[in-house]
Symmetry: C2
Subunit: 457 residues, 2 copies
């Protein structure tokens, strides 16, 4: 590789999860090539786990221009493992309501009026901008018109996994489960060559999808090698209703239907008991913790300490901006670490390293992308962010991992790279993405007038 094809960035700190711990390097430089792959990581000194180090030859090194960020932390981009990006257009449109009222009385009726390909393209563009500026480089998105969402993510330069929706009831997008599945396969066929995209099947939830449809989803997922991403045991009501209707808890039903596997992604997992947790562990399933949304809808707090102890991989997600109301993975990471302590009645529960891992490598594992992203290692993609240590609120700093989780906010993110491409430069979107955002903001105005009218109705 020619030196001119290599990019490099240096910062006072580099922090990354590794397979067996957390690496904290001082005075680190990371190099990547045109393919977006990391080719070397240099560090003058390491606090922990120096095993990921590698050094370029002196010759190659000399001609490479290194962007020096000084007092900053380089780390993997955050992975938002559960989102409904387009719902950004309904941010704060229905607050302070419990899940089923929120969903049935407010969100579903609004969606019925508003959601079409333009809504999805505009809402997803806004969401991608918010996430990239805030240090999120990958989003697992579950929403109608996934092909339009996917094109919006790609146009913003963001990595996404589309969990293509399947639900029994008709919407403007599709009339029945067959049609949802057909549209899912079409969307994947149209876009499967895009390097930034991956796909999953997204049956909405055990309480909205029949056994027969789940079985078809499982068959397609196996045939095409796709993960299955569904809402799981978000509320106590959902569990009670499943016991009444199916005579079994949703997680047991998912196991019976063959849904549980290492490629299973269960969002929320708030009301999981010991039996559910054991079942998820046995099948090597993944749970996405969405703390803000679960608090705001009074759903509860997912038992992430118990899940982690049982060996279940825990990822973190924002959920949509209609229930959060931010797409801010720094906020979710902090909240995950804080809530776990009160839940477990143990101040050492889910320490900073665990929360950081869940928001990066945990997310990559849940989406079956951990060979490509989730940590900064040679051979992986340069999906990476730089967090400034300049703000007075970031000082002093004794441990960069603690600061990433408990102190930093998305406002401290100064650069974001996806597959080695700079998407955010000095806190601003790169030129193309900025132009697309400007266009989307103009269209946002029209949708927000319509949402305002519906809120008053």
């Amino acid at each position: 590789m020619e030196a001119s094809e290599i990019q490099a960035v240096r910062a006072d700190w580099l922090v990354t999860p590794t397979e067996h711990g957390t690496a904290v390097l001082r005075n680190a430089t990371i190099y990547w090539g045109k393919s977006g792959k990391i080719i070397a990581i240099e560090s003058v000194d390491s606090d922990r786990s120096p095993s990921i180090n590698a050094v370029l030859s002196e010759e190659a090194n000399r001609d490479i221009a290194v962007l020096d960020l000084g007092a900053a932390i380089l780390c993997p981009g955050l992975v938002n493992a559960h989102c409904h990006a387009a719902m950004t257009l309904m941010r704060g449109a229905a607050d302070d309501l419990p899940l089923m009222d929120w969903l049935q009385k407010r969100i579903w009726p609004m969606e019925g009026e508003l959601v079409d390909p333009t809504f999805v393209r505009v809402g997803t563009t806004l969401a991608a901008a918010e996430m990239l500026l805030g240090g999120t480089t990958t989003c697992a998105d579950m929403y109608f018109y996934p092909e339009d969402a996917a094109r919006a993510f790609v146009s913003m330069g963001m990595r996404a996994q589309l969990a293509m929706p399947v639900i029994e009831f008709p919407t403007r997008y599709a009339s029945d489960a067959d049609r949802y599945l057909a549209l899912a396969l079409e969307a994947r066929d149209a876009l499967k060559g895009e390097a930034l995209l991956s796909f999953a099947l997204g049956p909405h939830a055990p309480y909205t999808v029949s056994d027969a449809t789940f079985q078809r989803v499982v068959a397609y997922a196996a045939e095409l090698g796709l993960p299955i991403h569904t809402h799981l045991q978000e509320t106590a009501t959902e569990v009670d209703e499943s016991l009444a209707k199916h005579g079994e808890r949703p997680t047991k039903r998912m196991e019976r239907l063959g849904v549980l596997s290492p490629d299973f992604v269960g969002a929320h997992g708030v009301h999981l008991n010991a039996e559910d947790i054991a079942r998820l562990a046995k099948n090597a399933g993944n749970i996405v913790h969405c703390p803000s949304s679960n608090l705001k809808l009074a759903s509860g707090i997912a038992p992430i300490t118990a899940l982690t102890k049982a060996g279940v991989n825990v990822a973190i997600g924002t959920d949509g901006a209609a229930s959060n109301n931010r797409l801010d993975m720094f906020e979710e990471m902090r909240l995950a670490a804080l809530l776990a302590k009160v839940q477990a009645n143990d101040a050492s529960a889910f320490p900073a390293e665990a929360a950081f891992r869940a928001a990066t490598l945990g997310g990559a594992k849940a989406l079956n992308l951990s060979k490509m992203i989730g940590s900064l290692e040679i051979g992986k993609q340069a999906d990476m962010i730089a967090v400034s240590c300049d703000a007075i609120g970031m000082n002093p700093m004794f441990d960069p991992v603690s600061h990433l989780v408990y102190v930093a906010s998305r406002a401290d993110v100064i650069h974001t790279w996806v597959a080695g491409n700079a998407c955010v430069i000095d806190r601003a979107l790169a030129r193309n993405a900025h132009q697309r955002l400007t266009d989307a903001r103009l269209q946002m105005a029209e949708f927000s007038d319509r949402v305002s009218t519906l809120r008053r109705a």
Copy 2:
């Protein structure tokens, strides 16, 4: 008053608590005079509670230059009702430990080595900068060397209430309870003419202060008209030990000793039962909710819905940066609203308006300053912030109160005024404060080296 002595600022929205609700004004302009007092609030249109409106005569109006902020929300500055500002120098120095280990094994030994007037001046200066930039205009501070802390707040242009410490055990600052009390009275005498300062007596906690000392504190407080600010029932252990040692719960003991009154400020109040809450209500006491710190130390979640229902005034605080690890009232306000919902198992609990009120007027009431600050009303001081609506993450917006609590972060604060003086202008500290911060940052480096050494010991 000459027009040249009047300042004015306009924004698309003005939001303030009032005695009986929340006022939301559109296209609002606020005017204040040299004394720092608000003299008029104009609004083209109001969503709710137009009762605070008042209009200047056309003549006066014409000559006043109005700073137009466009898409922004003007609201009262946030009141941090419980902090240990100087502990900023120990930010993140001891994480993931329960309260008593954190305090006895890590914080108290570090404080023994480090805390002197310089430490307090430097740490408080850093804290004031962080808070002003983040939209906090008043801080209730409890720490050693309160005279040095007070001078640091004044030099930064920030309003503060010094809860002057009283504790039984000796520190470098004072040898015994008598000496703490004597130093408290000296500090107040030296500084009582400062317009930005007010004073309280700060007996550390029921478990560190004797009955006899509490009685002396009560006598001095009555004589001098000072609030009493103490830590109250932060942990379950504290309650158990009080039952064992005194045969009564700490709140009952406080009542017996005459500590409870409308001028009583109890910080934390995590482990309050129905009896404690009734006692606080009967005596019109105040509780400061510190959600991040209470989660991080696994202390629990204060019952703020029950307190509010009983009529107890609830304020919000950050606690110190050694247990939070941020001095970020936006974060605490959001967390207060979110946690209350799961705690009460009710998504409508502690809605956005309640959290916003607690972080502003609730704080002012707790500190006995509500005649002067806590809301934007004619005759009150212009302690005020402007929150930008420009960020993509703040859009769209359907309700500015919801967005202030659930969406905005301190990074959205663009201007901060205390007593009508601009302390933060376009996200930067005013010139004098900036210079003082620059000096403090140089001194911070020396202290953080010493903290690093102590952490390794």
